[in-house]
Amino acid sequence: MAIARNTLVFEDCKKSCKDPYTFSEFKDKTILITGGTGFMGRWIAEMINYINDITQSNIHLILLARDIEKFQVEMPHLANKPYLSLVRQDIRNLHDLPKNINYIIHAAGTPDNRIHVSQPLLTLETFYKGTQSLLNAASRLPELKKIIHISSHQVYGENDSDLNIEETFLGKVNTSNIYGESKRISETLCFAYKNQFKLPIIIIRPFAFVGPYHDLEKPWAINNFIRDAILGGPIKILGNGLTIRSYLYGSDMAQWLLKTLLIGQIGEAYNLGSKEPTSLNDLAKKIQLLVNPSIEIINKSSKSIYKNISNLVPNTKKITDSLSLEEAHTLEESIKRTTVWNQLKTNNEN
């Protein structure tokens, strides 16, 4: 009999977080996640659910988002938990927050680049005005211990080298890149609030992720490859198949974020992602092998030869060494789990 989606996710959390008692400091504390119903918010909620279940820590979670109904429908196993609250709020218009909040993960704003190109002004406003609204409100919280600001690897600019990107890297910046520039100004805001209001802020720069709760229609190669494979192929590589990326699994991401919230150094910036590089060609072959070996892989590209190979892989030494973290899921396991989860019926139907 097939397992339920939420059972699969619970097992993933268990694998990523071997010692849930590590988080005993969060006992009876309240964590706010802005953009709380997205990929990150859902995985953190799953991880908190796992920790609460095992340790009876009663960690309170407030998920703040514009669309909470979708979460209620799609995540009934979490939405009704007594320690979870859903707050409908556009981050741009946020003024006051519940006074009992101790920790904040600011993940509002979509990384979906279709939205960035279609609605650049909304994108800019959400990241700039939304971050400022949040930080103003946070500055009035009496019990606040730490804020994680979710930035992006795009603040680094383009990486022409074949080296993994360190936190001190500065590549070619393109001022017309709305998302990258929005994230850069948001980071600048964070540093200003840290200096002027002494807000305890940590910057996280995410790279690419894979796992349940990632909509396979999002315009990222791994999502589309898995979707193509589930649909029976062919897997379509659009553009340069030599492009290098890496993928961190959702439950590992959640574990790393919570550990950063627990013991990360205020004022520091950390990369969040997998250090294991893979080309899109190799990724497609892996997915073909793991999901459906009989399907075809086709490449559609504007050019036969590329001058540069895009390489977006983080150097994760800083976060893994200083916070004692490791990747619990290999890429192969991540692909398998993601595929199985997407093939399972929704929780409601199990």
């Binding site: 680049n113 279709r114 315009p219 589309n224 979707r227 193509d228 553009g239 340069n240 559609k300 504007s302």
Partner: protein
């Protein structure tokens, strides 16, 4: 290395413009069979303005979309069945789902060259259904290369597996094609394509310039059957491509046969570059307007060439067919 060019044949779609959207199911069956036999990779079928476009505004088709697509599907085995989709004319729920259920393989989602935003949902939906999705920028002569690249990049993000620019007015010279295709090839990850019209007699030359500039997809129709002065004449294009060492997968002799069949069975008149088509091309007016302009100009006894000039001045685009009568009435008033 043999260079492969993907050919898409809109004889049964753009050609529908040439007959005021009056292609019959039998004609569709005849040409689809011939094109399939020739190994044409993609055969595009439908109303001239695409799926769901049959209307008083742009012209009522003789056959409905279902009849046209089911007929073509029945007669295509090797060739893929393609459709042209302009969001607004075609909705996902009413038109696209049904078309995919009939068995459409390739969906080319089109917008005016500066309005790619409207294609997001349609492109996304086609990819979700596991079908081939391409983005098409129409009337591309109206935007500079930099804008075309920005709009094409949007379509790429929305899921397009290739971007085709249309010279919908037949206004390009080879230098224009070189500039725009080069910019697109450099700015995009996915393959670039070109769809020509022959108002200035440049359709084949422009198509060849496109592939020499890096395009990998070309459109062409039998005898150039299409709106206005017609499209790139496919059998000529195949001959030239073969001579230049490109591979299309199309059997040349069978393509010649298909063109002869098309001329005999579906064309009341073979497209030629009429005087007004030249003016239309120079003025940059959508080729799909030609039937309307001819009819209304004749009715009100105004010079078609003046109508095209004024439509060009007003930068009118496909879907604004109602402006034609407005322009004609202005000319009538001026004459008085």
């Amino acid at each position: 290395m043999i260079k492969h060019i993907l050919i898409s044949d809109p004889t049964l779609r753009d050609g529908n413009h040439a007959v005021a959207h009056q292609l019959t199911a039998n004609q569709i069956a005849i040409y689809a069979t011939a094109a399939d036999e020739a190994g044409v990779p993609i055969v595009e079928v439908g109303h001239g303005n695409g799926l769901g476009a049959s209307s008083m505004q742009v012209g009522l088709a003789l056959e409905d979309d279902v009849t046209m697509l089911e007929t073509a599907r029945k007669h295509l085995s090797k060739s893929k069945l393609g459709i042209h989709v302009i969001p607004g004319f075609a909705t996902i729920k009413r038109d696209l789902i049904r078309a995919l259920d009939i068995g459409v393989d390739v969906v080319r989602v089109a917008s005016h060259c500066t309005e790619a935003d409207i294609t997001q949902r349609h492109l996304g939906f086609v990819r979700e259904r596991g079908k081939e999705a391409y983005g098409v920028l129409m009337m591309s002569h109206m935007a500079p290369a930099s804008v075309l690249v920005e709009e094409a990049q949007k379509m790429e993000l929305y899921g397009a597996e290739g971007i085709i620019i249309m010279d919908s007015a037949g206004a390009y010279l080879p230098s224009d094609v070189e500039e725009k295709i080069t910019a697109l090839v450099n700015g995009l990850k996915v393959p670039v394509g070109f769809h020509a019209h022959n108002n200035l007699g440049m359709a084949v030359a422009n198509s060849i310039t496109a592939i020499q500039s890096g395009a990998k997809i070309l459109d062409g129709t039998a005898r150039g059957f299409g709106a206005g002065a017609g499209n790139t004449q496919l059998e000529v294009l195949i001959a030239v491509l073969e001579r230049m060492g490109y591979f299309t997968g199309i059997d040349f002799y069978k393509m010649l046969d298909a063109s002869d069949i098309a001329e005999r069975e579906i064309m009341p008149v073979i497209p030629v570059i009429k005087s007004e088509s030249i003016v239309s091309g120079l003025a940059g007016v959508f080729s799909g307007f030609s039937k309307h302009v001819t009819r209304i100009s004749k009715e009100y006894q105004v010079d078609q060439r003046d109508v095209y000039r004024e439509l060009g001045n007003r930068k009118v685009v496909g879907g604004q067919e109602d402006i034609i009568i407005e322009v004609v009435m202005d000319l009538v008033r001026k004459k008085k």
